[in-house]
């Protein structure tokens, strides 16, 4: 049975194919369309999934959309009524989008895919989140917590997964939302919403959590982790472009930061604010999971929703929370809902048995030697190839050891926002200057943003505070920020963040043998089996997908070498290739887009 899951018309459109209970292909549309956070119909991602699955659209049994559009429409209408007359502009803007696109999703999908309407199913947004995590987890039964900005009405759920069924117990509803609270502070600190949340998280170690008490005055947090926002301080429920009311700024006594300072300034006040909202987020999540543990009595936890991308909080939940094991899907945001919707239909609705746990995130597209070679030759790009794998891996490890920054493209693209060694920029983490070099000459992004380490699983515990690393599934997908062991911080200065932490990825020989071997070889040369890994893109660009994207990004940045499979391209070969354009995105979503 083939089930195609789709998510689109919000942000991060994606398609995923579940074939007889196995997730065989999944990709965000942005990888192909080259539009960051592309929200359009995921035509190219669908085409890829079908091709990868070896089927046509006519072989698909069901197409499942990740949410219930009419329920969200009801929320938009009732919110406009509840906030009348302040909501005139947001009503106009959102209705224009709904009338032109979102109300006609079923007929549009049917027309574009040429599939009968009876094959279309609609999952609830948060059930899609829950399913993405539970059905790909290794757990037979688990408690499930989903937390994001907003779905239809729901902003968080508590659920239980058993076998092939998910039972949702409770929900929290719009506008009371931990995700939207975090986004409000993202805007206050001068970053773009639905884009700058990573930056806020990256900034928090530079500050002290001095303002937690002041933040708690904006909301009620019950012992069960539920939130009630005092909406006098917020405007996202009735404004097109403002998350914060004037009362919010008056409460803190400082205006929101001008976004133009975000790239250069580490203003202590906003760093303290970032640290404070991070602390509050962690405390609320901890209360939520403690309550979830109390009401379910279960030992395993699956997390999903955009808030599960807060890898600092994830580690604390694992260390300080009541659950023995935590699992997070590699794409916990709305892109992952496409996989969740497909799994929910296959397992829960159609009562099919569960497939295997998801051991890796390499579910995207792949380019073979022929494709790479013909690209290089067609564009007269000088290259060489080391056909022997071991010799090639030795060359790469020695290149890293000598201080070069390299683009690395090999195997299937990663599913989710993290680069996990298929489309990565890699460097030597022992050299402090690498952080500055990568931020200023290669990624062109804020100097305070940290870089992640990839470590072979066998030796992860030696460098990071992560005992029994094989139990920590989120670390496979780079969803934990763990302390670097104190004695290793001087050894790994380029990946050790201000507070002594690192967002590590544990690399397994079974799931990515080439990447594992590079790190292992680097370890044999240096006694440090860790390399610096950041996504293969420029700031605001989607992660590269094809050889053309990789070469273009390589040419536009200060990288020294490009490795595509066993092909080696040196910096002297850089040139402009006109047809590989992309849209750099430096702005986030509008408030209307965020909530509708």
């Amino acid at each position: 049975m083939n089930v195609l899951g789709l998510s689109f018309y919000y942000h991060d459109s994606a398609a995923a194919l579940v074939k007889n209970g196995v997730l065989v292909a999944a990709s965000a549309e942005e990888r192909f369309s080259r539009k960051k956070h592309d929200s359009g119909f995921p035509e190219l991602a669908i085409e890829f999934c079908l091709k990868q699955g070896g089927i046509t659209i006519h072989d698909v049994d069901y197409v499942v959309f990740y949410e219930k559009p009419f329920v969200k429409f009801e929320r938009m209408l009732l919110t406009a009524m509840a906030t009348f007359p302040k909501s005139a502009a947001v009503f106009r803007e959102s209705m224009q989008r709904w009338i032109s696109d979102k109300l006609w999703i079923k007929s549009m999908m049917s027309k574009r895919l040429e599939v009968p309407r009876s094959k279309f199913l609609f999952a609830d947004h948060h059930v899609s989140h829950a399913a993405s995590s539970f059905y790909t987890s290794p757990f037979e039964e688990a408690a499930i917590l989903t937390v994001d900005g907003a779905g239809e009405w729901t902003t968080s759920t508590m659920a239980v997964g058993r076998g092939n069924k998910i039972e949702v117990l409770k929900e929290m509803r719009f506008p009371h939302s931990l995700g939207l609270l975090y986004s409000a502070f993202t805007a206050y600190c001068g970053f773009e919403i639905n884009e700058g949340e990573y930056k806020l998280m990256g900034m928090h170690p530079y500050g002290e959590p001095k303002y937690c008490d002041e933040i708690y005055k904006l909301l009620d947090v019950a012992e069960d982790g539920s939130l009630w926002h005092d909406m006098r301080y917020f405007k996202y429920h009735h404004s097109t472009n403002d998350t914060l009311s004037p009362l919010f700024e008056a409460h803190f006594g400082r205006p929101r930061r001008d976004p133009k300072h975000q790239d250069t300034s580490l203003d202590p006040y906003y760093c303290d604010m970032a640290a404070s909202i991070q602390r509050v987020t962690e405390e609320i999540l901890l209360k939520m999971i403690t309550h979830l543990h109390e009401i379910t009595g279960l030992k395993k936890l699956c997390l999903a929703g955009g808030v599960a991308l807060n890898s600092v909080a994830n580690y604390k939940l694992m260390r300080e929370g009541p659950f023995e094991d935590v699992y997070i899907h590699p794409a916990p945001g709305d892109d992952g809902c496409s996989a969740g919707a497909a799994y929910w239909a296959y397992n829960h609705l159609l009562d099919q048995p569960r497939g295997p746990a998801l051991e890796h995130a390499y579910l995207g597209s792949e380019h073979g030697d022929d494709s790479i070679q013909s690209f290089l030759e067609a564009n007269d790009i000088p290259y060489r190839k080391i056909s022997d794998d071991e010799e090639f891996f030795d060359f790469v490890a020695r290149t890293l050891e000598s201080g070069h920054v390299c683009g690395w493209m090999r195997g299937r693209c990663e599913w989710g926002p993290r680069a996990l060694g298929s489309r990565s920029i890699i460097a030597d983490p022992r050299r402090m200057e690498m952080k500055e070099k990568l931020n200023s000459k290669i990624k062109f992004r804020e100097s305070f943003r940290p870089f992640a380490p990839s470590v072979i699983e066998e030796r992860a515990d030696e460098f990071f505070d992560i005992p029994e690393p094989e139990r920590h599934w989120p670390a496979r997908f780079m969803l934990y920020v763990a302390p670097v062991r104190e004695e290793k911080r001087d050894v790994l200065p380029a990946i050790t963040h201000e507070d002594g932490s690192g967002r590590l990825q544990t690399v397994y020989r079974q799931t990515n043998p080439a990447y594992h071997r590079i790190i292992e070889r680097f370890g044999e040369l240096t006694d440090v089996p860790v390399i610096m890994n950041t996504s293969f893109n420029l700031k605001g660009e989607p992660i590269v997908e094809s050889p053309a994207h990789a070469f273009n990004t390589f040419s536009l940045s200060g990288m020294d070498f490009l490795f595509m499979n066993n092909f080696i391209v040196e910096a002297s070969a850089k040139k402009k290739i006109a047809e590989t354009t992309f849209h750099l995105r430096h702005d986030g979503d509008s408030v209307t887009q965020m909530v509708s």
């Binding site: 499942v64 219930k68 559009p69 009419f70 329920v71 009801e74 209408l77 009732l78 919110t79 406009a80 009524m81 509840a82 906030t83 009348f84 007359p85 909501s87 005139a88 009503f91 106009r92 209705m95 224009q96 009338i99 999703i105 079923k106 009876s118 279309f120 199913l121 609609f122 999952a123 609830d124 059930v127 759920t157 508590m158 659920a159 949702v168 117990l169 409770k170 929900e171 929290m172 509803r173 719009f174 506008p175 009371h176 009620d220 019950a222 012992e223 069960d224 539920s226 939130l227 009630w228 005092d230 909406m231 429920h237 239909a345 609705l349 159609l350």
Partner: protein, 69 residues
Amino acid sequence: MQALAQFTERFGSMVSRLLLTALYYGVLGPVALVYQRVCDPLHLKRRQAGNWTKWESTNEDVAAARHQD
């Protein structure tokens, strides 16, 4: 031709904004004023005993899942 298409798009957008504004104040407004007095769908009033609500599942079979609501 491109200029005409751009003009048509902008004109259409302007007309739809005018109509939606009229709809907002003329139709939605009077209903909203009554609605605000009797309902609190956003839970804007402070709640005493936590803010979790019981999940009402209405999407448990294929027939229900075919619906967009």
